[in-house]
Structure formats: structure tokens, C-alpha cells
């Protein structure tokens, strides 16, 4: 009898202790919204999830009375939807604690007061010292750092080796093409000439000589820069529009549309159709990203990486003039902390854990380059044939300006490109119109040169 009473007390004590323990250990939920939109870039969310497990192990070892639960979201549809959702979340005070997005978002979001300055945390955690020094420029705005850079890339000029061979190019000639582009020996005019030859020979259909992206975006600016264009004055921070360079770009694209190298209505082609047409070998040249290589192999090709390696060669974007310098463009992403979060310290600690080669190396899965110095020495990176072959492109890269007026700037320039390709404006008219629109929309935020 006494025994059974003792057992009952013991049981009650164990239950009470368990309840007390459970009540004492809080769960703090952190939310992270991330974006591809290319599906192989899902590591931007998965890395955070894995880092949260490590963080919890650390918390357990420290005897902390709380654990972290991380809820992630990975957007695969469009930047536009993702940004709209975030803006509404910022406005309603329901934004996620962590965000992975373009480095360009810093200007508008920090002006809006939605992002936390990270300088203090960067000084606190040694992990951030490993970030490639030049990448901090992409995430610094008005003297403060707002993001931890991830996944820089390059935007190669791809050529279809099978089609060039059909056109009569020898294997050596095809192999030599990236080198010729690097030396400024194969320029944009040559792209037009070879495309016309391929169309005339029936190797590709009219309009399938060269394809750029079918939508608004950064790719047009590497060609604008090849013509000597500038986007921002490094001294004043003011946006810049270089009329001669824009005329060069518009003239090139107008000529391509007039002569049937490019489809007049290429802009507006749905992305899946664009990728399928390129991967199916119907387009001679195209401009895309390093991540496209992974996207084509995993999402659009039945033959996977073997087929993509056999079919596509890659180089820098050609120069505008013979002997000129080729170009490319990088559009790194960054992890941000929402200024309204209640758990900034935990979020920053999580970012310090994810900023290690172990996680950074996963960038390769989506065709992105490492953001950390030590990842560049990792065997996995050195053995990655594609990335090691494109890594030289980083020396020729540039980026779009982190400026809160750049959204309007980009919209106006893209509208003019659209007008030139559809034949509604001549290149000269388009330059004139762009200047007029930029001045009307941005006033003294833009300088015309």
C-alpha cells in the first residue's frame, strides 16, 4: 500500500518535472522567405534549415532554455510575385525574419526602413570575414551593409556546338570560340553575320539566330556596357545613361530584328517555351546565366548534363568593337534580416552558421559561384568542370546599381528595347525617348551623358 503511494508520488513528480522542463524550453519560430526562381537554387532555403539544426545543437550544448524552429518558403514563380508579397508583409508587420533576395532590393527596402543594418553583426561573427571582399560592395548602401552576399554568378554567351558544326565549323574552330570572344576577335557583328549564314543555310529557322531573355531583366546591360555604357557615377552615386552606348545596343537589337536574326516578338515568349526551344537545339546563340546550365540539365533536357555538355559551349558576352573587352554581369543575392523582427540576434547567428563553405558549396548545384574565399579552395568546387571553366568570367563582371530609382530606369530602358525590336521605334528615336522618359521620371536622380 505504502509502496503504491510512493510510486504515485514519484509518477506525479516525474510528470511535474517533465511539464516544467517542457514549459521552460521555449520554441522560437523564425520565418525565412527565399527565392530561386530557378528550382535548383532551393539550397537557399535548405541551407537555412540545416543551419537551424546546427544552431539548435549549439543551443543545447550551451544549456539554453529555447530552441529555434525555422519555417521556410521558396519562391519558384517570379520575382515580381515574391517582391509584391514581401512589400505587403512589410507593410502589415508580418514579414519574415529572414529574406533571401536580389542585392538590388537593398536600395528600396532600406529606404523604406524594412532592412536591418548588419555592420554590428558582421564585426561580431568571424564567419563573415570569409566573404569575398568585392561582394560586400553589392550589399552596401549609403555606407551601411544590409545583406550577407550569396550565390554570385556570371551571365555567359552560349553557342550551340551541334548547329555550328552543321554550319561547317570544325571542332577546333568551335573550341576556339570562347578564346576569340575573350580577345575581342569575335564580336556582336560576327554574331549577326554567323546567324544570318546559319539561317540562309537552313541550319536554324529565321528569328532563331540569337535569343536574349524574353523579359525585363539585367541581361541587356552587359551589352550596353560593351558599347561603353555606364549605369551609375561611382563618385556621386547618381544613375547614368550613356546615349552612345544605348544607341549601340538599340542599333544592334534593331538590326537583329530587321534582318531576322532575332524574332520580332521574342519578348513576351513564355520562359518555359524559351528554355525548351534553346535546349531542343533550335537557336544558334543565346545569352543566359550560369544557373541556366543547371536548369537546362535538370529541368529541360531528357539527356541531362551529358546532353547539355555535348550541345552547348559558353563564353563571355562578346565585345562591341574588334579588339574590345567582352563583358558579363553578376546579380548576387543576399540574406537580409527584417528590421521588424523580434529575434534579430538569433537570425544573425543563423546567418553566421550558414556563411560557411559547407553550405556555400551547394551554390554549385544551381550553377552559381561561391561567395566565400575558402569555398573556392574546396575540392568539390575545383572538381566542378562547369564552374571552374566559368570562374574567369568574374574578372569581367559588373553589376546593376543599388539605387532606389533603378527600377524605373530599368523599366524605361526595357520599354525602348521592346519598341526597337518590335519595329515601332528606330534606334535614334528610342534613345531620344529614353532620355525624355528618364528625365521626366527621375529628374536629377539621373545624369545623361
Amino acid at each position: 500500500m505504502r509502496n503504491s503511494k510512493a510510486i504515485r508520488y514519484l509518477f506525479a513528480f516525474v510528470v511535474a518535472a517533465a511539464v516544467t522542463f517542457a514549459a521552460a524550453q521555449q520554441t522560437i519560430t523564425l520565418e525565412a522567405w527565399t527565392i530561386g526562381p530557378d528550382e535548383p537554387a532551393v539550397h537557399r532555403a535548405e541551407n537555412l534549415e540545416a543551419a537551424a539544426l546546427i544552431l539548435n545543437e549549439q543551443l543545447a550544448a550551451e544549456g539554453a532554455d529555447y530552441r529555434v524552429e525555422l519555417v521556410t518558403d521558396f519562391e519558384t514563380v517570379s520575382w515580381d510575385d515574391f517582391r509584391r508579397r514581401l512589400l505587403l508583409a512589410f507593410d502589415s508587420g508580418l514579414a519574415p525574419d529572414l529574406i533571401a533576395s536580389s542585392h538590388l532590393d537593398i536600395a528600396v527596402w532600406s529606404e523604406g526602413g524594412f532592412l536591418m543594418e548588419l555592420d554590428g553583426y558582421i564585426a561580431e561573427y568571424d564567419a563573415f570575414d570569409d566573404v569575398v571582399e568585392s561582394l560586400w560592395d553589392f550589399t552596401t548602401y549609403k555606407g551601411a551593409v544590409y545583406g550577407i552576399p550569396i550565390n554570385p554568378e556570371a551571365r555567359p554567351f552560349y553557342f550551340n556546338k551541334t548547329l555550328l558544326a552543321e554550319l561547317g565549323w570544325s571542332a577546333d574552330e568551335i573550341e576556339a570560340l570562347p578564346g576569340r570572344i575573350l580577345e575581342g576577335d569575335f564580336i556582336w557583328d560576327d554574331v549577326v553575320e554567323v546567324s544570318l549564314e546559319a539561317i540562309e543555310a537552313g541550319v536554324v529557322a529565321p528569328g532563331h539566330g540569337y535569343w536574349h531573355r524574353p523579359a525585363d531583366g539585367p541581361d541587356y546591360y552587359h551589352t550596353y556596357m560593351a558599347y561603353g555604357g555606364r549605369l551609375q557615377d561611382p563618385d556621386t552615386g547618381q544613375l547614368v545613361f550613356t546615349q552612345d552606348a544605348a544607341l549601340g545596343l538599340f542599333t544592334l537589337l534593331g538590326r537583329m530584328a530587321d534582318e531576322g536574326v532575332i524574332l520580332r516578338d521574342l519578348i513576351g515568349t513564355p520562359w518555359p517555351e524559351w528554355h525548351r526551344t534553346v535546349v531542343d537545339g533550335e537557336v544558334l546563340f543565346n545569352s543566359a546565366g550560369t544557373w541556366s546550365f543547371a536548369e537546362w540539365a535538370t529541368q529541360f533536357s531528357d539527356g541531362g548534363y551529358d546532353h547539355i555538355w555535348e550541345t552547348f559551349g559558353f563564353a563571355l558576352q562578346p565585345a562591341a568593337e574588334r579588339g574590345g573587352t567582352p563583358t558579363t554581369l553578376s546579380h548576387p543575392l543576399a540574406y537580409y534580416i527584417w528590421s521588424g523582427t523580434d529575434h534579430a540576434d538569433l537570425a544573425a547567428r543563423l546567418l553566421s552558421i550558414v556563411t560557411t563553405p559547407e553550405f556555400d558549396v551547394r551554390a554549385m548545384e544551381s550553377g552559381h559561384l561561391p561567395a566565400l574565399e575558402s569555398t573556392r579552395a574546396e575540392d568539390a568546387f575545383l572538381e566542378n568542370e562547369f564552374l571552374s571553366q566559368v570562374s574567369y568570367m568574374v574578372d569581367y563582371t559588373s553589376a546593376q546599381p543599388v539605387h532606389d530609382g533603378f527600377g524605373r530606369y530599368a523599366d524605361i530602358v526595357f520599354r525602348s528595347i521592346n519598341a526597337v525590336e518590335s519595329g515601332q521605334l528606330t534606334p535614334e528615336e528610342a534613345v531620344e525617348l529614353t532620355v525624355e522618359e528618364l528625365q521626366r521620371a527621375l529628374g536629377d536622380q539621373v545624369s545623361i551623358e
Binding site: D80, D105, A107, G113, F406, G407, N418, S422, R440
Partner: protein, 316 residues
């Protein structure tokens, strides 16, 4: 004993009391609708008007400034305003003709069929309306893509993106098919409510089918036609989802850009997220005014007051 004067006073009081109760009860019944209209119709219009006078954007979301009529000046000063206005008028006008005309034709033709066959046709025509716009447009895109992906390109042997080749045709057709189903339903109900006697009388008088439609059906359908026309006009002015999904205002340069799509893009769409809610609200305010003006014109054209007038002869 009451005097005639007192009786008159009481009469007046009774009359006054009747007058008070004559508006109190209807007011009570109208109150819920009034609250809804104020909250969900006037409220948003007033908020739109207020926002249109601020510089509210992604950048100034937490602290917008009052800018007066700057946004309106910006819109009116744009060189694209006349082009987009023309596009909007064309889109609304032609789609409306398609919607109302097709709805009417369908209703008349289907009313002549047996119920069983008619119901099958009605259901078929309702499918686009009950399909989600995104799926509906993706299906059209699959139909109209270049070969080997597009059905139409395969069928005709001419590989082209048919949406880009015929942008307005596509936009109007795709919108029109959805819009026609609404007209079809309402017109069918209206045709069924026409007394059978009138059709018999017309037949006895030797009226042809066309004469029956022209002289019997159409005059009795002024009310539903006015309703569908006004409703579709306002709906077309404000809706842009099919254009957004199908052409996004292209191909090329503002080819199929209509006012509401332009406003949406200014307010919500930008490659690097710098969206201008204030400017978008100013553009939306133009639509509110246009909608009111169009409604007033319709009320006059269709002689709305006559439709509401008490019949001169009451037949019981």
C-alpha cells in the same frame, strides 16, 4: 365635440405621421445595403482618391508625403496617355460588342433548342467562366504557341506565336468567350420571361424568325441588355488579368496595354520592386471617373427612367 379645424389638424398630423413612417421602414430595409455600399464602394474610392495625392511607394511605405495633384499631372503629361486611352477604348468597345452580341446570339439560338441540348451548350459556354483565369490563359497559350509546342501551329503548318501575331484578336476572343457566357445566361432568362402569347401572336401574323427577334424579343430585352452592357463596360474597364497573363501589354510597345493594366504595373510591378502606389491610385482614380461617366451615359441612352416608370395601365 371637434371642430372642422381640429379635424383638419388631426388629418395633417396623421398625414405627417404617415409621411414619417413612409420613409422610416424603407430606410430600415435599405440600411444594410447602404452600409455595404458605403464601406465597400465609396470607402475604397475615397481611399484611392487620398492615396492618389500622396507619394506612397515601396520606398515611402511607412511615411508617405502629400503631393497634391502631382501624380495626376504626371499621368496627363505622359506621352503614352493618348495611346493607352485609345487602346482602352478599343478593347472595351470591341470586347463589349463581342460579349453582348455573342451572348445575345447564343441566348436566342439556345432558347430555340430543346432543354436537354440547350443545357449542354450552356454548360459548355460556361466552362471558360468557371475555369481559373491562369489555367484558362495557359491553355490558350498552349494552343497558340510556336511549333512543336502549339496546337494551332501544328494544325496549320505555320509555326508562329499566334498570340503575338494577332494580339488584339487573341485578347478580345479570350475575354469575349468568358464575357459572352454571362450575357447568355441573363438573356436566356429574359427570353424565357417573355409571355408565350407574344410569340404565338407573331407567328399568327406571319412574322419571320428575324422579325420575331427584331420586333418582339429585342424590344422586350432593353433592360437586360442595358444591365449586361453597363456591367460589362465597368468590368472590362477595371479588369486586366487576361491581358496581363496573355500578352502583358505587348507584344512590342504598349500594343495591348490598357489603362487598368498600366495602373497595375505602376502600382505593383517593377523588376526591382520600386513600385508607386500613389501614382497607381491616381491612374485608378481616372478609371473611377470614367466608370461613373459611362454609367450615366448608359442610363440616358437606355432611358433608365422610362424603364423604372410606373406602367400607365395596370392589368390585374
Amino acid at each position: 365635440m371637434s371642430t372642422p379645424a381640429a379635424a383638419t389638424d388631426r388629418g395633417a398630423a396623421r398625414h405627417g405621421g404617415n409621411r414619417a413612417s413612409s420613409w422610416k421602414l424603407p430606410a430600415l430595409f435599405l440600411l444594410p445595403a447602404l452600409i455595404i455600399v458605403l464601406l465597400f464602394f465609396f470607402g475604397p474610392a475615397i481611399v484611392t482618391g487620398y492615396l492618389s495625392m500622396t507619394d506612397l511607394s515601396a520606398r515611402t511605405l511607412s511615411d508617405p508625403s502629400f503631393v497634391g495633384f502631382d501624380n495626376y499631372e504626371y499621368v496627363l503629361g505622359s506621352r503614352w496617355t493618348p495611346l493607352i486611352l485609345r487602346n482602352t477604348l478599343f478593347y472595351v468597345g470591341v470586347t463589349l460588342l463581342f460579349n453582348v452580341g455573342m451572348g445575345l446570339v447564343l441566348a436566342i439560338v439556345i432558347s430555340g433548342m430543346s432543354d436537354r441540348v440547350g443545357n449542354v451548350f450552356r454548360l459548355l459556354w460556361l466552362l471558360p467562366r468557371i475555369t481559373s483565369p491562369v489555367i484558362y490563359v495557359v491553355m490558350w497559350q498552349a494552343l497558340m504557341a510556336r511549333a512543336p509546342y502549339g496546337f494551332l501551329s501544328q494544325l496549320t503548318g505555320q509555326s508562329q506565336n499566334w498570340v503575338n501575331a494577332y494580339p488584339w484578336h487573341s485578347v478580345i476572343l479570350i475575354n469575349g468567350v468568358v464575357g459572352a457566357s454571362l450575357g447568355m445566361l441573363i438573356f436566356t432568362a429574359a427570353i424565357r420571361s417573355i409571355p408565350e402569347d407574344l410569340f404565338r401572336a407573331a407567328a399568327v401574323d406571319g412574322a419571320t424568325t428575324w422579325q420575331t427577334v427584331r420586333r418582339v424579343i429585342l424590344p422586350l430585352m432593353r433592360w437586360p441588355i442595358m444591365f449586361v452592357t453597363a456591367y460589362q463596360t465597368l468590368s472590362l474597364l477595371a479588369s486586366f488579368e487576361y491581358i496581363l497573363l496573355l500578352t502583358n501589354g505587348g507584344p512590342g510597345f504598349f500594343t495591348t496595354e490598357v489603362w487598368s493594366l498600366w495602373a497595375y504595373k505602376e502600382a505593383f510591378q517593377s523588376y526591382v520592386g520600386n513600385v508607386e502606389f500613389g501614382l497607381g491610385a491616381a491612374m485608378a482614380a481616372f478609371l473611377v471617373v470614367t466608370g461613373i461617366v459611362a454609367s450615366l451615359i448608359y442610363l440616358r441612352v437606355f432611358r433608365f427612367n422610362d424603364l423604372l416608370a410606373r406602367p400607365k395601365i395596370e392589368v390585374n
